[in-house]
Amino acid sequence: MESWPLLSLLVWLPIVGGLVVLASGEAHPQRARWFGLAIALATLVASIYLYAGFDSGSAALQFVEREPWIGAISSWYHLGVDGISVALIVLTSFCTVLVLIGAWESIENRVQQYVACFLVLEGLMIGVFCAMDALLFYVFFEAMLIPMFIIIGIWGGPRRVYATLKFFIYTFFGSIFMLIGLIYLYLKAGSWALSDLAALPLSATEQMWLFFAFLLAFAVKVPMWPVHTWLPDAHVEAPTGGSVILAAIMLKIGGYGFLRFNLPVTPDASQEFAWLVIALSLVAVIYVGFVALVQEDMKKLIAYSSISHMGFVTLGIFISLALVREAGNPDAARLGLQGAMVQMVSHGFISAAMFSCVGILYDRMHSRMVADYGGVANTMPWFAALFVLFAMANSGLPGTSGFVGEFMVILASFQANPWLALGAGVTLVVGAAYTLWLVKRVIFGAVANDHVAQLKDIDAREALVLVGFAVAVLALGIWPAPLVELMDASIAQLVQQLLASKV
């Protein structure tokens, strides 16, 4: 089982498959779709195999592959997974399959390029989650930009060029400082291995600069207020599949980066500046929640809702530092980190589902404006039922996955400071307000106009996508234990790392 390189397969199968699709040419779009789907399904199967073969009782890296990569700077092609990575890898391959099915009919020009972009993107994202060499991580982290740049730029809406340039340059700018920070660390440690960087003693000043270099890179990616402004633009202009991948996985890479870099490499600086991140997270949770309330564009509304929900992730991550260092409560810290991770996975499913729903409406009406809809439930009952389910999950209804993560984070922050918990709890009200109001305006009420009256309900293919997400949302909401257990050992180890000062 350890003998063959499963992780390399997960990374390179979609990339090579994507290139094959690209080479197949324009003439056979249907062939490109089926072949792309087959590759994505094979990757999903491989990732499930990874999950099945993963020993969640151990915090050690598993499925490790290590080959020399660039000898001159002792960088290794070093892949490995822990519980956190496995969860995100499965999420990635699951979402990619549904994205390809979702785009079956809505993308008609240059299909082979579309499919290829998503497959290459999938491989690179999986690479980010299993790279254990900082340089390799950075390479995957940055290389993702090009396929996404093209996805938004070719198949996006009217202002796609503006949005995609903004997306690219924002992210590129954020990460260049991380690169310099990583080079600094390499010169000090003589190694790019994440485990060596985590063990490297660093002075308080060094940690501070590195912390901010990493913070900038990942805060742009998450995105945190106030560097979030690229996200609404990118989401609104991106094609449905692009929005789904962006919300479901690319944002998670920011949170994942915090767990892999800020916390283990600069624990003391993270503790010192946890207040800052917590404050920004609360701004995201509360203020951006209110911003979402006034949006007229459905995609923009969901984009702001994403920022708000990702605020919970950063809150959970950084509250754990306060808990472990100041309150001396490692159990609560573990809860906070677990909450953040569950929230990441759950938000991946929910936001992907919400964007898919908007995409389904857009395919029929060619409008994303709330005002153009009303009474959709009358003409699309099945769709309405699923949309309401996702809306409930988005507002954190118990029984859905949205509740689990938020509840865990609020519980953890209550142990740090009840006022923080109160602040975070506001989102349950605001989140419910903007989501349910959206549902009311779009789904319920009388049929608003002739276009809505002519809507056809979802067909089997669209139902497959939405039901797929619905099953995931409900399964995670009703029985989150497998996910929590999967990550438990890794998170416990992370908490141990946080306990030790590096100065």
């Binding site: 001159a72 700077i73 390029q113 940055e142 796609r160 590129f172």
Partner: protein, 480 residues
């Protein structure tokens, strides 16, 4: 001192190149225009044979003419880079020259003599040899720029190039004479030995000499503020000539800078570090910011060259073995990247149409998605996006500079982000804009050209994925 045949052994590639280029000049006289392809073939064969003679499995240090000529691992590697790049340039030049009536033997002979000059520059053990090589390259280049004598633009830029180039050569020569005055020798190793001692007594003279030498170097590299000739020359020259002067000479310029700065003046390290730091910062700033407003692709690539020179200096000014290896890596990879970029311009050009505006690349993806993908790779590599070689090269110079010049490394990073914008604009034109006409691209009917261009572009990706061997080779070429 009597000259024996044995002494010429280290010069074998140069002697062969000189002999065969003279032979080519003669042979070409008897080749009629329809058979001109033979000259093309012979020129490439000469380069390949010279490259074979240059390659040695275990390079040791050999000298000739009492140390005036040095052959070591570094010179071998740089010469291979120069020869291979020029061979690629020849392949790309043919489909451009042919329909314009420029497909003459002169192009090849001038380029080959330029190559000879470059080979001398990287093997120089004496300031006179440095100058000799430099002038051989420069004079060939002046003539090449004016190759299309009916074009006003070409003549104007050749004139500009010549006047400014002569000025820079004068500066360099003046600096050399001061170094000679301060140390009493022109031998690079000799200066190296004396300079450390002379630094106390002759500091002022040495520093003055250094300033003039740096000005000369800066001009040859095209570093700001000595960059003014570069956009005009790139723009005004026939694309085939731009191809040549934009690629291999950057490798030679690195060799020259290494020979002078490290070989002779390493005891003045702290002095020239500061000067190069200023040049690097200015080049990064001017190159990247001015490139944003260019609409002509050749001019944009000229400003992009200026910014890349800034990056290259970042490696040079570290003054460490890693830094030189990084700068060398940068020069080599930049040469092949820029050759691919101009090769793409040639690909899109027609007999009556120069595809040198960014506008001309609009909608290329719809007309020919393969070459759009190739151009995407070139632009992504120039922008320094990972998995392409441009990123690894930037990483190499940044990691060399971070220790002592953290501020400069950060500034370089910021300018790299600014710079990414104009490369993205080309990608945007190709992928997101609608083409002027949707008819498929009429490709030049030159199979070797198309094949080499595709291989060259794919190499940017391949080297990015497996940069280890080349980097290790660069590191091994720099003596510890």
């Amino acid at each position: 001192m009597t000259l024996t045949w044995k002494e010429l052994i280290p010069l074998t590639p140069e002697v062969f190149l000189l002999g065969s280029l003279l032979a080519l000049l003669l042979v070409d006289l008897f080749i009629k225009q329809p058979r001109r392809g033979l000259t093309h073939f012979l020129a490439i064969a000469i380069l390949v044979l010279t490259a074979i003679m240059t390659a040695r499995p275990h390079p040791d240090v050999q000298t000739a003419f009492g140390g005036m000529f040095v052959r070591d691992g570094m010179s071998d590697l740089l010469k291979l880079g120069i020869l291979i790049t020029t061979a690629v340039v020849f392949v790309y030049a043919k489909p451009y020259l042919k329909p314009r009536g420029l497909f003459q033997g002169e192009f090849y002979v001038l380029c080959l003599s330029g190559v000879l000059g470059m080979m001398l520059m990287v093997s120089a053990g004496n300031l006179i040899v440095v100058y000799l090589g430099l002038e051989l390259l420069a004079l060939s280049s002046y003539a090449l720029v004016a190759l299309n004598r009916d074009s006003k633009l070409s003549s104007e830029s050749a004139m500009k190039y010549f006047v400014l180039g002569a000025l820079a050569s004068g500066m360099l020569l003046y600096g050399i004479s001061m170094l000679y005055g301060a140390t009493g020798t022109l031998d690079l190793a000799g200066i190296h030995g004396v300079a450390a001692v002379a630094y106390h007594d002759q500091r002022l003279l040495l520093l003055f000499g250094l300033v003039f030498v740096i000005v000369g170097l800066g001009f040859k590299f095209g570093a700001a503020p000595f960059h003014m000739w570069l956009p005009d020359v790139y723009h005004g020259s026939p694309t085939a000539v731009t191809l040549f002067i934009a690629s291999a000479p950057k490798i030679a310029a690195f060799g020259m800078a290494y020979r002078i700065l490290e070989g002779a003046l390493s005891s003045l390290l702290t002095d020239w570090q500061g000067m190069l730091a200023i040049l690097a910062l200015l080049s990064l700033a001017i190159g990247n910011i001015v490139a944003i407003v260019q609409t002509n692709l050749k001019r944009m690539l000229a400003y992009s060259t200026i910014s890349h020179v800034g990056f290259l200096f970042l490696g040079l000014l570290a003054g460490s073995r890693e830094g030189y290896a990084a700068a060398m890596f940068y020069a080599l990879t930049y040469a092949i990247t820029t050759a691919a970029a101009f090769g793409m311009i040639v690909l899109l050009s027609r007999a009556d149409f120069e595809a040198e505006e960014i506008e001309d690349f609009r909608g290329l993806n719809q007309r020919n998605s393969w070459y759009a993908g190739m151009m995407l790779m070139v632009m992504a590599s120039l922008a320094g996006v990972p998995i392409w070689i441009g990123f690894i090269a930037k990483l190499a110079v940044l990691q060399a500079a971070v220790t002592d010049f953290l501020w400069l490394a950060i500034a370089a990073g910021v300018f790299a982000v600014i710079g990414s914008f104009y490369y993205l604009r080309v990608i945007k034109a190709m992928y997101f804009d609608a083409p002027a006409s949707i008819e498929p691209l009429a490709l030049p009917n030159d199979v070797p050209f198309r094949f080499v261009l595709s291989v060259n572009c794919l190499l940017l990706l391949g080297l990015g994925l497996a940069s280890g061997p080349l980097w290790a080779w660069c590191l091994a070429a720099i003596p510890a």
